[in-house]
């Protein structure tokens, strides 16, 4: 009487375990696939220029050196001077984009979620419409627009462009968040003595914090990594953002691989730090709404 049910109970568990191992293997392969180039980037960045060109490659440099990093971070050298300027340019553009994206997306998403205004469906559709076309299609039209606005060769042109691309998804993501927050919470707050605005700030905003953080990270990374538009809109050397800057000054000099790798590594630092700090919220944002609570 006892043996049969236990048999029934263990068999499905075994097959679930089997799948779990397949899943782990798959994840391990993916990790390998994404991690190896990064590790190679790091290793190359601490080689000397000569060691980096050797074949067969040195798996681990005979004489590891941080010379490339010193060079890049030294404001007195011309390379370091450029690199730091590009870095600040990128930071400025990305942070501006992020702040503006949050400032615009939060109320827009809230309005789409809560208010029933005429043309709401149509407007929301047009917000998403942008995402149905590849970004490059907008390159020329946006360039012409920026020229009309007198924004070519300014960081403003990039911020505006990145918002065009980042906002639709940000609004869409945040709207999902607000849809999942019961109306009754705001209603309760309004009865408890809050104005509509206070109910939003005191009750809804904290609840949507994971969504806002996810939106911010998404906007930041989008702006930080963007290449084509930055390449098209900016010409003056002192305005370049990191992706263009790195590409440009290393192809001008003979290819300095350790320097290039060190610069690439430092470029990925802000993104990695952001992720590590806010990962908790980011994961919650992406899984929120999966389970009804």
């Amino acid at each position: 009487m006892t043996s049969m049910p236990s048999n029934v109970a263990t068999r499905p568990r075994k097959s679930i375990d089997g799948w779990r191992w397949v899943g782990r293997l798959f994840l391990a392969l993916m990790l390998f696939y994404t991690a190896v180039p990064m590790i190679w980037m790091l290793i190359t960045s601490i080689k000397s220029g000569f060691a980096a060109m050797q074949f067969p490659p040195q798996w681990w440099p005979n004489e590891p050196t941080l010379a490339s990093y010193y060079k890049l971070l030294d404001p007195t050298s011309s390379v370091g001077n450029d690199f730091l300027r590009f870095f600040w340019n990128s930071l400025f553009v990305s942070v501006s984009t992020t702040i503006l994206a949050v400032i615009v997306a939060v109320p827009a998403a809230y309005a789409f979620s809560r208010f029933d205004f005429p043309g709401r469906k149509f407007l929301f559709f047009t917000v998403l419409l942008r995402n149905m076309f590849p970004a490059v299609i907008f390159l020329v039209p946006l360039f012409i627009l920026m020229r009309l606005l007198g924004l070519v060769n300014t960081h403003g042109s990039l911020v505006l462009t990145y918002l065009t691309f980042g906002l639709p998804l940000a609004i869409w993501l945040l709207k999902g968040f607000y849809d999942n927050i019961p109306h009754q919470l705001e209603q309760a707050a309004r009865i408890d003595g809050a104005s509509r605005f206070q109910a939003f700030i005191l009750i809804v905003m904290p609840l949507s914090a994971p969504g806002i953080i996810a939106t911010a990270i998404y906007s930041f990374i989008g702006a930080w990594n963007e290449y084509i538009f930055a390449y098209t809109f900016l010409n003056k050397n002192d305005q370049l953002t990191l992706p263009i800057g790195i590409q440009r000054f290393f192809s001008e000099n003979t290819t300095d691989f350790p320097g290039l790798m060190a610069a690439s590594f430092m470029m990925s630092v802000p993104v990695v730090v952001l992720f590590l700090l806010l990962q908790r919220y980011f994961v919650r944002a992406l899984t929120e709404g999966a389970v009804k609570h």
Partner: protein
């Protein structure tokens, strides 16, 4: 404290009318229970009074002030929501303190009031928990507590006890009732539970399909339902409603059932039937007003027991008459078995008569 007046209140959602021309007055300090089937507009009515949704037409006054365009926070009301609506990111303590903070009370007074409410609701040990760490019943008590910490003009409660177990519900019922008496609070209380309505409320408002059906004391609603809906909705088991055919000859009025049996009406009841707009009259009788015999009685209606449900101190017998299910209660000592022939007598004093076409109660004068 204040009185609340609804005048011709209407709320439509597109083509659908959720609240239809409702007028009622809740006097200062009165406890009014709003009852009705699911979807009849109870929550919508409460939300209109709270100002959470805009009125389509009509007026609401709280105290002597028309509040149609007043913001919820300025209406001086507290509300318990059907689904609690606790702030998930705040602890129980902060949930209770929030309405007081919004009213800028001093910190020590907030602390005192919160602890007092927690004590009354027996949740002092829960104050540091988040809502998701509470059971449904505990969440409900917090929701109630958040309304009770304040001293508003009107309390609105949307099924505040629906998720408590039977014991806690009885306890909270007396708690709310005492609270009502101590504070002389004006309370509008939505409930599915008739027993709650009958035991707690000064008045009952019965709604159906967005319309207010009857607004009266629980006893009046129970004893003098204005129409067939109220008659069948209030009381458990429901009042039996038997469709019959009325006829008069030689100054005698009789009601005849499908099976051919008939009852002669008392002169008082005969006068009621005269007012009917059709020959079709519906006889309403509560289970306790029908006399059941297991042997033939002159003038009694012959029937057959259909089901027999012993509940302990009362046994319910069901029979079919004129196509309607008739509920009769008998002492558990009476030997009745399914399919056994039985004889039924209706109490002329306590029977209800309804117009078969309008479904309204027939009155003698």
């Amino acid at each position: 404290m204040a009185h609340v007046v609804l005048r011709n209140l209407v709320k439509t959602y597109g083509p659908h009318t959720a609240v239809n021309n409702v007028s009622l007055t809740v006097n200062d300090g009165e406890f009014v229970a709003l009852v009705g089937p699911s979807g009849c507009g109870k929550t919508t009515t409460l939300n209109l009074v709270a100002g959470l949704i805009p009125i389509t037409s009509g007026d609401i006054s709280i105290g002597d002030r028309v509040v149609n365009d007043v913001d919820p926070k300025n209406r001086d009301i507290a509300m318990v929501f059907q689904n609690y609506a606790l702030y998930p990111q705040k602890t129980v303590y902060k949930n209770l303190a929030f309405p007081l903070q919004m009213r800028r009370l001093p910190r020590d007074e907030i602390d005192r009031k919160v602890k007092e409410a927690a004590r009354v609701l027996d949740m002092t040990h829960l104050l540091e928990r988040k809502p998701r760490e509470l059971s449904g019943g505990q969440q409900q008590r917090v929701a109630l507590g958040r309304a009770l910490v304040r001293d508003p003009a009107v309390f609105l409660m949307d099924e505040p006890l629906s998720n408590l177990d039977a014991k806690l519900r009885v306890q909270m019922r007396s708690e709310i009732k005492r609270f009502h008496q101590d504070l002389e609070a004006t309370i509008i209380y939505v409930t599915h539970d008739q027993l709650e309505a009958v035991t707690m409320a000064d008045k009952m408002a019965v709604m159906n399909g967005g319309f207010l059906q009857q607004y009266d004391s629980p006893a009046q609603v129970f004893n003098h339902p204005v129409n067939m809906f109220v008659a069948s909705f209030i009381g458990s088991p429901a009042m039996s409603l038997i469709p019959l055919e009325a006829s008069s000859a030689n100054g005698r009025t009789v009601l005849t059932g499908e099976e051919g049996w008939s009852i002669e009406l008392s002169p008082h009841n005969a006068r009621k039937v005269e007012r009917s707009t059709t020959k079709k009259v519906v006889l309403g009788a509560r289970h306790s007003t029908i006399k059941l015999s297991t042997s033939p009685v002159p003038g009694a209606i012959p029937a057959k027991a259909y089901t027999v449900e012993p509940t302990g101190d009362i046994t319910f017998v069901q029979a079919l008459l004129s196509g309607a299910v008739v509920n009769i209660s008998v002492p558990p000592t009476m030997p009745v078995a399914p399919d056994q022939p039985i004889w039924l007598e209706f109490d002329q004093e306590r029977m209800h008569l309804f117009d078969g076409a309008t479904e309204m109660a027939l009155e003698a004068d």
